[in-house]
């Protein structure tokens, strides 16, 4: 097969002929190896090596502990349940938003409420849950008079995580449902099919890839969730990320923590593989929303509209309730004891907490352009150029994103605390963690946008005399700029709200708001914790508004919704 070997050689030759391409690829590989592969290797080393020898003893020691084994099964159970409930809820929401012929106002409300959990700092629902459903909870005790209801355990964790993550399913399913041409359903109706049958045989099958994808996304999110179970799971329901964290911070057992992280790696990897090769690349957000002739949607019986809408509003109200409670906690002296109005907590966070705010904003501010740049560069290279190792590069760039944050944090802690590369205690290690964890959203958006750009457009530019540099600058770049901004936005937002990885990376010099929230909560300073949380929500919303307005200015091939990007 001289021809095929010839193409491979040709690819190498072509790459070497283009020095800019070659240099860029090399530099990117250096970063990828350094910040993705190296820490992971060190983590594996801790798990499986002992004094240079391969050993399974560490694994055995951990797995023998029934508590840890229980945590493993619990994690899987919780993740599966969250995946199920969240997908159903998200589907409900998406179906109502797309098929119920709602006026725009309602849809906007539903949208806004679904964004809130996605962009909030951790623990927000957990705090509110304890207040509402604890033994003296606002709802359980004061409203319903139920005594002895325990708020800790699987049920509340499930409830809290479902509410937190179902927007991901909503954002995944909405474009899919919207893309199903209502004319298709019309046709089924015209053939005499009853509504339910149409739903079952037409709408649902078309949605199945989306449902599978949403389930996997939610499964992965729950698997990695460290913050909510820390507060709500209680002691009878241990889960892996929290166990790993406690192993390190409580029992000073870095090795054990590494092993637990590795155990967590296995299901995460399975999910990643399933997503990539089974559900396929159909995940990408459809950007050009060209809809066929507008026909009034009849797939939903008129009598069903109101209850569906009511249900969605109920959930939206539940979400809003949590945030109102949070805000309330931030403006009273001591929630539950002293309900005097005060701004003192805000004073506190802007004086004592100022360092955390400043540090977080600096780090987010640094990570933002770096992440956006890296995202668009890698996305362009991987999406458009051909060079040996292209697919590998794409896979590697997704690794940190797919892993639970705890693993990444522990890996960075192990890798960068000793020579040859000591980075702990600097901002760089936190920025690097964020950039390489959250840029893949920007990368995927870039690739998706590039796929939307017909190659003939770049050829047209070439035929008019433009060099490849000019073509990139004047044609390609403006068309993928929305992905750049979306990537920027995601890195910033996640930098503001992340905790599971970076809790291991804070230091004397650099601390983060989310970590302070956790500290405040455990020190029972609920006021400042709530105030910090509200501050984060405000900042994040401001950023979303900014990015959305920037995106609107670009009259590109299609408008990319930042929020839909967040779903990924």
């Amino acid at each position: 097969m001289a021809g095929i070997a010839g193409t491979w050689m040709e690819r190498w030759r072509r790459t070497l002929r283009d020095p800019a391409l070659f240099a860029t690829v090399l530099v990117l590989w250096v970063f990828l190896v350094l910040f993705i592969l190296f820490p992971l290797a060190r983590l594996l080393g801790r798990t499986f090596l002992d004094g240079g020898q391969f050993t399974l003893a560490n694994m055995a020691a951990i797995l023998q502990d029934s508590n840890h084994r229980q945590a493993f099964w619990n994690s899987l159970l919780l993740a599966a349940l969250v995946g199920l409930c969240g997908t159903v809820l998200g589907f409900l929401y998406a179906f109502t938003a797309v098929r119920a012929n709602l006026p725009r106002g309602w849809i906007m409300i539903l949208d806004a409420c679904s964004i809130l959990p996605l962009v909030s700092p951790p623990f927000t629902t957990a705090i509110a849950m304890i207040f509402s459903f604890g033994p003296r909870g606002l709802i359980t005790y004061h409203l319903f008079g139920i005594k002895g209801f325990t708020v800790y355990g699987l049920h509340s964790t499930l409830f809290s995580e479902t509410l937190t993550y179902f927007p991901i399913a909503y954002l995944t399913l909405k474009p899919i449902l919207a893309a199903i041409d209502p004319n298709v359903e019309d046709m089924a109706f015209s053939l005499g099919s009853p509504r339910w049958r149409v739903f079952r045989t037409v709408t649902l099958p078309l949605t199945i890839p989306g449902l599978a994808n949403a389930f996997l996304l939610l499964f992965a999110a729950s698997l990695a969730d460290f913050a909510t179970p820390l507060i709500l799971a209680g002691n009878s329901f241990p889960v892996l990320p929290t166990q790993a964290y406690l192993q390190i911070t409580g029992l000073f057992d870095l090795k054990g923590g590494a092993v637990l992280s590795f155990v967590l790696l296995v299901p995460a990897l399975v999910v990643y593989l399933l997503q990539r090769y089974w559900v396929g690349r159909r995940y990408y957000v459809t950007i050009t929303g060209k809809v066929g002739a507008q026909t009034t949607i009849k797939s939903l019986a008129p009598w069903a509209r109101a209850p569906l809408l009511g249900l969605c509003l109920l959930i939206a109200a539940a979400i809003l309730y949590f945030y109102v409670l949070l805000f309330y906690a931030s403006v009273v002296v001591a929630l539950g004891a002293n309900h005097a109005w005060t701004w003192h907590h805000y004073e506190v966070i802007f004086t004592e907490g100022l360092k955390a705010i400043r540090d977080t904003l600096i780090i987010a501010g640094l990570g933002m352009p770096l992440g956006g740049l890296y995202g668009i560069l890698l996305g362009y290279l991987v999406g458009k150029k051909h060079f040996p190792g292209r697919q590998t590069m794409e896979v590697v760039s997704m690794i940190n994103y797919s892993l639970p944050g705890t693993i990444v944090g522990i890996a960075y802690l192990i890798a960068f605390n000793d020579p040859p590369l000591i980075l702990t205690g600097t901002a760089l290690v936190i920025v690097a963690c964020y950039v390489f964890r959250y840029s893949p959203t920007g990368i995927r958006a870039t690739v998706a946008l590039l796929q939307q750009i017909d190659p003939s457009i770049e050829e047209a530019s070439e035929s008019l005399g433009a060099s490849s540099g000019t073509t990139f600058r004047r044609i390609t770049l403006p068309l993928i700029v929305p992905a750049f901004f979306a990537g920027l936005g995601v890195v910033f937002i996640r930098s503001m709200t992340a905790i599971s990885a970076t809790i291991f990376l804070v230091s004397i010099n650099w601390t983060l708001i989310t970590v302070r929230i956790l500290e405040n909560m455990t020190e029972l300073s609920l006021g400042p914790a709530a105030a910090f949380s509200i501050l984060v929500v405000v900042i994040v919303f401001a950023m979303i508004a900014l990015i959305s307005s920037l995106l609107r200015r670009f009259r590109a091939a299609g408008v990319v919704e930042v929020t839909s990007i967040l779903g990924g």
Binding site: S456, I457, E459, E462, G465, P478, L479
Partner: protein, 368 residues
Amino acid sequence: MSAVSIRIDGVSKQFAHRVKGEVYAVRDVSLTVQPAEFVTLLGPSGCGKTTTLRMIAGFEQPNSGRIFIGGQDVTGLMANQRNIGFVFQNYALFPHLSVFENVAYGLRVQRQSDAAILRAVGEVLAMVGLQGYEQQFPNQLSGGEQQRVALARAIVIRPRVLLFDEPLSNLDAKLRVHMRGELRELQKRLDITAVYVTHDQEEAMAISDRIAVMHQGAIVQEGTAEDLYRRPASEFVAQFIGRTNLLSARVLAAGAAGVEIELASQRIRVPDETARVAAGETVRVVVRPEVINVYAAESGSGVPGTIVSRTFLGEKAEYQVQVGAEILQVTSYDPVRRGTFAPGQQVRLSFPAEGIQLLRGEAQCRRP
């Protein structure tokens, strides 16, 4: 600027196919286009016409052979160095730029002054009939308008040659007919060499100076529309250009006076002196539907047949007539005055000698 010629010389292009191994998209193709000539590459999908065009443009590199534009060997040059104008099938307009900026793009690349650009763009938009559209964006235009912007964009840079890749296939029928006339007129006015690719033989015949019919990567015949219609070199060409009946006939005698053949139990002397056939051989003959005369059965002479179907099209009526085991296509003009035949009716057909074309003894091409 005076027009230039295009010459492609023994050009081939292979791809490595995962299953089939090496596949030839274009096989040893040679063609010369005279200055200001309008040549069409015509053929079914997959015959290599688009690949050939893209090699002239520089988007693909040939594995062997050379390409000359205006006498200059451009084989090694990239597309942006060849000074060509290319009109894409899907127009490839830049979605983020206005009509003005789309058209001005090539001029901006050349770093022309704003004043010069303003003038040139205005001129060319007027030429294509889009004055006033400067500030529109591509997604606000109809298909036909987009096509004209693509055209304007290609010609404003005064390319040496114009290359068209099935530019009209996305338009509706009436618009297509209208636009092809406009394209041809524009090309004549600009006095520019053009190579056009299409699969629509009617379109090709309507606007080209010359047509090169391609099949499976090679040019099987080139010539004017009339050449191709009257003297098709192979069954493939005969069937691709116009409608036809392909029949087998037995040679009775061949000589200086022509070839006497037996066709559908009729003896006909075909005035063809160049055919190299011998008595007793079987040849394939091309009989165009419009040369066959059809009479009522009572007329007596001619081949008996039965009307299978009739399609009345206004200026003509098309019949399918069963003759023996074959079904022949017959076209009759001016049916309103001359009368029509109904399905099931018995008729007689006659084949005028000068309307029969013997296929040259070339290798039969497999049906596409």
